[in-house]
């Protein structure tokens, strides 16, 4: 990988292994790199431990989404979904367990897949991408059992509400649609850009990040990052962050979000921005929290750089892993 390629690399997705000791990251060249967190976090870590233990080309196109189940790593690139067994990846074998493609209506161009989530209740994979539809695949049989249509432009992000079993999807058309996962019917449609307090017409109306925490929902993108109360369908707080946010998560009593700008923003539910922690990439695409393993409880962010910043204490950057 030459220096020019490294310069132009963007990390689009990350996922932690089920044991919490490894991190997989996908970039715009279609490569997936697996890093060993236990080596990088150990007291005698060196330069070499910040390099991937395994780096392979998984897809022809950029890997926009990575997801870990209990045994496999699912990666989405070039319109197809591949599954890699984590046990095999740790042993440095790069053979995919399976590769499947949702049934697209147009066969001319292959729409990219932007987001994948798992519905743990009925063990299905929910996929949203460039063809404006949400495809639901049964994980055991591999059959794509249903398609949710409603968006008029491609889907950026997906989210799942466990308690009510609802799927939330945000797209380029500026609408956040809520679907019932059991009946596959649309329940609500919130057009965020129509609310004055959130809308930022200078950036557009697209929604690129969604997160839920029981009754509350975070959404942002073109419009400002805002916290919504889903029962009353009203925006309760709007966060005064200057750029467009690409990913946001709820963590304990904070909201962490990344987007344009070389920092991670820590915000409170009330609408105040508590802190902005600087990082190396000039703009960030993905944020991941490793909550499965209490020893390696870190936050990693990646964006338009070949380096992935690791935060052991969420208030400052500890070190960076690099592709």
């Amino acid at each position: 990988m030459g220096p020019v390629e490294l310069l132009h690399m963007s990390v689009f997705s990350q996922s932690f292994s089920p044991c919490g000791r490894f991190l997989a990251a996908g970039n715009n060249y279609g490569e997936i790199a697996v890093f060993s967190l236990s080596a990088a976090l150990s007291p005698d870590a060196s330069e070499a431990s910040q390099k991937p233990i395994l780096n392979f080309t998984a897809h022809d196109g950029p890997v926009f989404s990575l997801l870990s189940t209990d045994t496999h790593l699912l990666s989405a690139g070039n319109g197809e979904i591949s599954a890699w067994s984590w046990a095999e990846l740790i042993k440095k074998s790069t053979k995919a367990a399976w590769t499947r493609k949702p049934s697209y209506e147009t066969s001319l161009e292959i729409p990219e897949i932007n987001a994948m989530i798992i519905n743990p209740k009925d063990n299905s994979l929910i996929v949203g991408g460039g063809d404006n539809n949400i495809h639901i695949m049964d994980m055991e049989t591999g059959i794509f059992k249903s398609v949710l249509k409603g968006h008029t432009d491609y889907i950026h992000c997906l989210c799942f509400k466990e308690r009510e079993e609802e799927i939330l999807s945000g797209g380029e058309d500026g609408a956040v649609r809520i679907w019932d996962a059991r009946t596959n019917r649309p329940v609500h449609c919130i057009e965020v850009f129509k609310y004055e307090e959130c809308a930022r017409p200078q950036f557009g109306k697209w929604i690129s990040c969604l997160a839920t925490d029981s009754d509350w929902m975070l959404c942002g993108g073109g419009p400002s990052l805002s916290l919504w109360h889903l029962r009353s369908m009203s925006p309760t707080s709007v966060f005064p962050l200057p750029g467009c946010q690409r990913e946001a998560v709820f963590y304990q009593d904070l909201i962490m979000s990344v987007g344009e700008g070389p920092h991670v923003s820590h915000c409170l539910h009330g609408g105040t921005v508590k802190a902005q922690i600087p990082c190396t990439p000039s703009s960030l695409n993905t944020l991941a929290l490793n909550l499965k393993n209490s020893e390696h409880r870190v936050m990693t962010v990646g964006g338009s750089s070949h380096q992935i910043d690791v935060f052991t204490n969420f208030s400052y950057r500890a070190f960076s892993l690099s592709f």
Binding site: L227, H229, S234, T236, S237, Q252, D253, H269, G270
Partner: protein, 215 residues
Amino acid sequence: MWFNVCVCVCVCVCVYHFTDEVIRKRLLIDGDGAGDDRRINVLMKSFTKWCHSSFSPEEGFSQYQRMVTSLAQCEFSMGKTLLVYDMNLKEMENYEAIYADIEKSITSAHEKIAECKKEIQRAKRIRKNRQEYDALARVIKQHPDRHETLKQLEALDKELQQLSHIKENVEDKLELRKKQFHVLLTTIQELQQTLENDEKTDSDDTQESPMENGD
């Protein structure tokens, strides 16, 4: 150059003699060991000398005095070392006690840390709940007060009732007038009919009477 060599040889010889002197001197001075050890050695030597040699009574007595003082010094020094030994033992005990104390405070500090961590988690949850509550309260405040809206509704209700009352009254009056007019019109028509009928019977009567006369 010959002079230099001579000087060097002289220096070497001098050093050799010098070191000899030094060694001799050191052996003489420190041959008995240092401090207490030396005192005991000197005492032993002088005691044996005193026993074996013949002194004049005054010399013997003075030697005896010297030995006794030397013995006293030795005893004094021994007392001192015993006290120091006791002190060391007590210090050791003290340190052990302090060590145990510190161990205890370390464990209690660990426990406190764990508790504080739990507290912080609780406090974070409480803060989150408060923030959510505040956010919702803000939204709710934007909507108008319920009492006011109820009052407005009541006022509107009353107005509505009044207006419907008025409407009823007006409708009743209209009905009444309609009926009255109807009555009036029917009477007029009947009167017209009676008048027409009368006219007809009048004209029939005049036609019939000439017919009767003609018979």
